[in-house]
């Protein structure tokens, strides 16, 4: 099922992340998926997130599809040139994968193999252009394809980026290049998100707000220092610092953020980063 059908029906779409393991033991990941499959619409299968080598997103997307769970196949340009990217997209289609999220990918030195060769032959925008071309029945070299793939195509945007204007110009380009929906970087400031949505509403594409439940005050401070475009305001940090039950407060905060922002956008994308077991509680708290 393509996510587009849900957006069209006016459903508030919920997605979460399914992070492939480092290694071949997929038991824990599949358990997390089973736990959430009835509460969410689709799972983003990350492609070596943060440049850390892991089991591939194509294989895991296929495993989910086999179990009747809807994957969003994430594809980054960090590790593959345009030949491999196009081939992987065709492979994804024949495996029955219907939703793709196209990203540039983190730089290699931020991950666990800093000595690897950074590829970046294409980038998010050119990958989207390439995908649009495949969907028209041609590859990037202009050769005709035998049977053409068809995906519901996503991209990402960072509403906290500085300067916001160039981020929005890029978002516009992504839409022109073929992006049909957007997931955002984590947002902790509903007021700023409202300003962002006011700017991008005119594009008429569904936007899913990104939520990362805070695990501790330390994590919040770490993100403020190290993650560009993410700002956790002080009152949330002190809430996390003063609480006795961190999980409970974290769930409350995440639920509250979603409640405040769900009227502004068309869906929510929760990145639980290992706290998958608390996602149902977050959704309850958000009234979803």
């Amino acid at each position: 099922m393509k996510l587009g059908e849900l957006f069209q029906n006016g459903k508030f779409v919920i997605t979460v992340e399914a992070g492939p393991p480092k290694g071949v033991d997929v038991k824990q990941m599949l358990e997390d998926v089973e736990l959430l499959r009835d509460r969410v619409d689709a799972f983003n299968v990350t492609d070596q997130q943060s440049s850390v080598m892991k089991l591939g997103s194509l294989a895991v997307s296929h495993l989910l599809k086999e179990r009747g769970v809807e994957p969003i196949y994430q594809l980054t340009c960090r590790d593959r040139n345009r030949i491999a990217l196009q081939s992987d997209l065709l492979s994804a289609y024949v495996l029955g994968i219907e939703n793709v999220l196209c990203l540039t990918g983190d730089y290699v030195t931020l991950g666990d193999h800093p000595s690897a060769k950074p590829v970046f032959d294409l980038h998010s925008v050119t990958l989207l252009l390439t995908l649009s071309r495949l969907q028209k029945g041609y590859d990037l070299a202009g050769q005709e394809l035998k049977g053409k793939p068809e995906f519901y195509v996503g991209a990402v945007v960072n509403p906290g980026a500085n300067p916001l204007e160039s981020q929005i110009i890029k978002m516009e380009k992504k839409i022109k290049a073929g992006a049909q929906f957007f997931q955002t970087q984590a947002v902790y400031e509903p007021e700023k998100f409202a300003e962002f949505m006011k700017e991008v509403e005119r594009f008429g594409v569904p936007v899913m707000v990104g939520i990362i439940p805070l695990k501790s005050a330390g994590m919040a401070r770490f993100m403020n220092r190290n993650v560009a475009g993410v700002h956790v305001p002080d009152h949330l940090i002190s809430e996390m610092k003063e609480t006795k039950d961190r999980a409970k407060t974290s769930v409350e905060i995440a639920g509250r953020l979603i409640r405040e922002m769900k009227g502004l956008c068309q869906g929510v994308h929760i990145m639980a980063l290992g706290w998958e077991k608390y996602v149902p509680a977050v959704l309850d708290a958000a009234g979803l």
């Binding site: 345009r82 540039t104 983190d106 730089y107 030195t109 931020l110 060769k117 950074p118 590829v119 970046f120 032959d121 294409l122 980038h123 998010s124 925008v125 050119t126 252009l129 390439t130 990037l140 990402v156 945007v157 960072n158 980026a161 500085n162 300067p163 204007e165 160039s166 981020q167 110009i169 890029k170 516009e172 380009k173 022109k176 290049a177 970087q185 560009a228 475009g229």
Partner: protein
């Protein structure tokens, strides 16, 4: 031409001193490029057009055949253009010789200096202070492009859609590629039809 994606390793200037040079150059370039460089290129273009085709016909093809021909004249022209372009752009802009120049659309900022070589806009990793996520002591290339294009009132150029790098052109002179129609970045001077 080694790994283009590894930034600034061979540049003779330190990053800080180049930033100072950059801001002066940017200001001068804004004037010089539009007043002198582009008219000169256009003039050379039409001169070449007259010489090669009598002013009509498949001009790009003729340029291409001229440069591919490998005769003495073409080698001299190619070599001269190559050296002039390489030296000026390397010194002034930290050019990485991608062979398909975007400088005139990016506020004279080489996009190949971005670690990811992004050509269509910033990633989400620009810090609040405008620094690069990969090299926190350096400016984000796309932060520079944005601020410079804004100063030059050329934010419209950020909306241009650029294809992926043609790696077969890397290390060759972009001016020749432009004339020979190999450079698909923009139609030769297509952006500037109004000035033509």
């Amino acid at each position: 031409m080694g790994a283009i994606t590894s930034v600034d390793r061979k540049n003779p200037f330190s990053y800080k001193s180049r930033m100072v040079i950059d801001s002066v150059v940017l200001w001068l370039m804004g004037i010089a490029h539009s007043r002198y460089v582009k008219p000169l290129l256009l003039r050379l273009f039409s001169l070449g057009q007259r010489l090669l085709s009598g002013g009509n016909g498949d001009i790009e093809g003729r340029f291409q055949r001229f440069f591919d021909g490998g005769g003495l004249a073409s080698r001299v022209v190619y070599g001269t253009v190559f050296l002039v372009e390489k030296w000026t752009k390397e010194v002034l802009f930290g050019c990485h010789n991608c062979g398909q120049c975007l400088l005139s659309y990016t506020g004279y900022t080489c996009t190949m200096r971005c670690p990811k070589g992004l050509r269509n806009g910033p990633c989400g990793g620009t810090s609040a202070a405008g620094k690069c996520e990969v090299y926190p002591d350096r400016w984000c290339v796309w932060y520079l492009i944005y601020t410079r294009c804004k100063r030059l009132h050329r934010l419209d150029t950020l909306r241009m859609m650029h294809p992926g790098v043609d790696w077969s052109l890397v290390g060759t002179p972009s001016w020749v590629n432009l004339l020979a129609g190999r450079d698909k970045v923009a139609e030769p001077f297509g952006l500037d039809k109004e000035t033509r």
